[in-house]
């Protein structure tokens, strides 16, 4: 087990162009599950590949277990990586796939069977050892890739979007399995994904990246509840945070905090059983002209624009539980509101978080 650190790591693919990764300084904790989250082209995979040793940094340092590894080959870094395509060796059986790292690193042949069986047992693929990769399902291939990674007991695990090739149903169960797997082996893990649900569900901490820069590092709750800038605010959450501009600030609020006033008023009167007697506090009333509604079973999503006031015409989204039986017909105007403590404030020019401004916010 080891800590991975990057110091001012930069990768420029073409001279004169903006770097794929710019001046990234990060440090993992021992045994942590760290997620790199960002849209495609955000540099998250390049960053991972530099840590793996598959890509040479333009500048900056990479440390694994306190040792600078910039000049070391992948094999000397004691890392294991699971690729998006799993990169199983198609001409070798599952057994030989898993044993390959042992063979390559000169582990005595007599120990191979024991170790391969241990790794295969851990992932429940003991019965597949004689098969070829092409005879396996997507989920089984992913487990073989994990077994091949775990078998030599690496210091660090690097996972590059390992679930993106699975169908939606399998992805959920594979995600849960990965979490349990990480708990049982406890190896420091870096996980790259563009899927915020995966990031929120699995990450101890999330590194949100965009255009090769780290926008925010924090626990899932921190990056979701307190986004550091407007990019993080809109990238996380589905539907994304509503952002409305007024003078030099951008005011943000999550769709799930934007309700009809009647619901909010009802809430203030009856204490939320989950939160005890916590009062919702003062709220900002806003009129919403609903343009259309999506019914998603457990929840309803309302799309519309604010009617009247300083935010007139700004497009916003409201998301509420479908247990709330408020009628919101498209085309009509409804009295909505968001509590003041759920407002986030961002500087309009930099997009960075700023101190709360006093109202009125109408």
């Amino acid at each position: 087990m080891a800590v991975v650190e990057t110091r001012n790591l930069t990768k420029v693919f073409k001279q004169g162009e903006l770097g794929a990764v710019n001046d990234v300084s990060l440090i993992t904790e021992e045994g942590e599950f760290l997620v790199f989250l960002g849209p495609s082209g955000s540099g998250k995979t390049t960053l991972l590949r530099m840590i793996a040793g598959l890509e040479t940094p333009t500048s900056g340092e990479i440390l694994i277990g306190g040792q600078v590894v910039n000049r070391l080959s992948p094999r000397e870094r004691r890392i294991a990586m699971v690729f998006q395509s799993y990169a199983l060796y198609p001409h070798l059986t599952v057994y030989k796939n898993i044993a390959f790292p042992l063979k390559a690193q000169g582990v005595p042949t007599t120990e191979h069977r024991k170790k391969v069986e241990w790794a295969a047992g851990l992932l429940g693929i003991g019965k597949l050892l004689d098969r070829k990769p092409r005879e396996l399902s997507g989920g089984e291939r992913q487990r073989v890739a994990l077994a091949r990674a775990i078998v030599r007991e690496p210091a660090v695990f690097l996972l590059d979007e390992p679930l993106s090739n699975l169908d939606a149903k399998l992805r959920a169960s594979a995600r849960e399995e990965l979490e349990r797997f990480h708990e049982s082996v406890g190896t420091t893990t870096i996980y790259v994904t563009h899927d915020q649900v995966e990031a929120m569900a699995m990450g101890d901490r999330i590194v949100v990246m965009n255009f090769g820069e780290v926008r925010q590092v924090g626990t899932p709750a921190e990056v979701y509840d307190e986004p550091a800038d407007t990019f993080v605010a809109t990238f996380l959450g589905s539907p994304p945070m509503n952002l409305v501009e007024k003078e030099d600030v951008v005011v943000g609020f999550r769709p799930e905090h934007f309700f009809p006033v009647s619901v909010l008023a009802g809430r203030a009167a009856v204490p939320d059983p989950m939160r005890g007697a916590d009062r919702e506090g003062p709220y900002v009333p806003l009129n919403l002209r609903v343009s259309h509604e999506e019914y998603l079973g457990s929840e309803r999503i309302l799309y519309g624009a604010i009617e009247g006031g300083a935010f007139h015409g700004k497009k916003v989204i409201s998301r509420m539980s479908s247990t709330l039986s408020v009628r919101c017909d498209p085309g009509s105007v409804h009295a909505f509101a968001v509590t003041e403590r759920h407002l986030k404030f961002y500087d309009r020019s930099t997009g960075k978080r700023t101190a709360a401004r006093p109202g009125p916010w109408r």
Binding site: A52, G53, L54, S73, P74, R75, I79, A80, M81, F83, Q84, S85, A87, Y89, P90, H91, F100, P101, A104, Q105, R134, R148, R152
Partner: protein, 304 residues
């Protein structure tokens, strides 16, 4: 490498059988006229006493085969053909592999280098080989001239590249390799680029070095395409007579005579059509066997 032919979406050919037949006809005609008829003629001649200029054909049974099997020059040609094919293929496979590794990653001027490497294949065989004939000439050879200039050999004892049996064989093999390597390299490059980039990367992370990645990952994954390259290479080499004919015409003392060149020398130049046909028929079982073996290997090694 598994290529599953898609089912024809709508059967235009079945709706209009004439169109299907018309589209199919040229290739059938080509095969029948240029391969089928000569092959049948060769079989017919091999069992007859046909000679150039003779009017009648008499069936002589296995007489032609009996006589060529007893002739020392046939046995020598058979041995030479095998040596020629095996040596040339070994060199071609190794060199084209090395070249394909070198040409795989982009570098400045790669396009030009690829073009230059392809040239020997694109240029007409006879022209290229005549060029080599001059390079290896006993008097004007540039190779000899360079060796003399560097004092590796004395001018009066310079090697006769095409005049000494072993050197002549080596020269013929090397010129043939020069010609076949581009073809083989292109096939290897295609096979190499079919391997997902992540596989060698995974091998690097798993701790495999260059040799292990090459011999345990890349080459086995390229096995089907490699066997295609070998199959074509063997057929091109075993049946080739251009290089031999132009460089040495089989000499000195039949030391570079191969089956095709012997068949030509006997059947056309020596006007004994029947013996020439019988010699060339000896190529058939070998080629059929090679084709069968290689297709089996390709089928079994099918990956992904």
């Amino acid at each position: 490498m598994a290529v599953t032919p898609g089912k024809p979406a709508s059967s235009g050919a079945s709706r209009s059988p004439i169109l299907g037949a018309v589209m199919f006809a040229p290739s059938v005609l080509f095969i029948v006229l240029l391969i089928g008829v000569p092959f049948c003629l060769a079989v017919l001649y091999a069992f007859s006493d046909a000679r150039i200029g003779s009017s009648g054909l008499h069936f002589v049974g296995l007489e032609n085969f009996r006589s060529i099997l007893q002739s020392p020059s046939f046995r020598k040609a058979l041995r030479n053909s095998i040596v020629f094919t095996l040596c040339a293929q070994a060199i071609v496979i190794v060199c084209s592999n090395v070249l394909s590794i070198a040409l795989e990653k982009p570098f400045r001027g790669r396009g030009l280098v690829r073009f230059l490497i392809l040239l020997p294949w694109v240029a007409p065989v006879s022209l290229g080989t005549i060029g080599w004939k001059w390079i290896l000439d006993s008097i004007y050879s540039v190779i000899t001239w360079v060796l003399v200039a560097f004092h590796f050999v004395k001018p009066y004892s310079a090697p006769m590249w095409l005049g000494e049996p072993h050197l002549a064989m080596a020269s013929v093999i090397l010129v043939h390799c020069w010609r076949l390597i581009p073809f083989s390299t292109v096939i290897m490059l295609a096979g190499r680029s079919a391997i997902s980039k992540e596989i060698p990367e995974a091998a690097a992370i798993d701790g495999a070095g260059f040799w292990r990645t090459t011999f345990q990952i890349n080459l086995p994954m390229m096995a089907p395409i490699l066997s295609v390259a070998v199959l074509f290479g063997i057929i091109f080499t075993f049946t080739d007579m251009t290089v031999v004919y132009i460089l040495t015409a089989g000499g000195p003392f039949d030391s570079t005579q191969t089956l095709p060149s012997l068949a030509f020398a006997t059947g056309i130049a020596g006007s004994d059509l029947a013996a020439g046909a019988a010699i060339s028929l000896f190529l058939v079982p070998v080629l059929v066997l090679v084709a069968y073996l290689m297709l089996r290997v390709a089928h079994r090694a099918e990956v992904v």
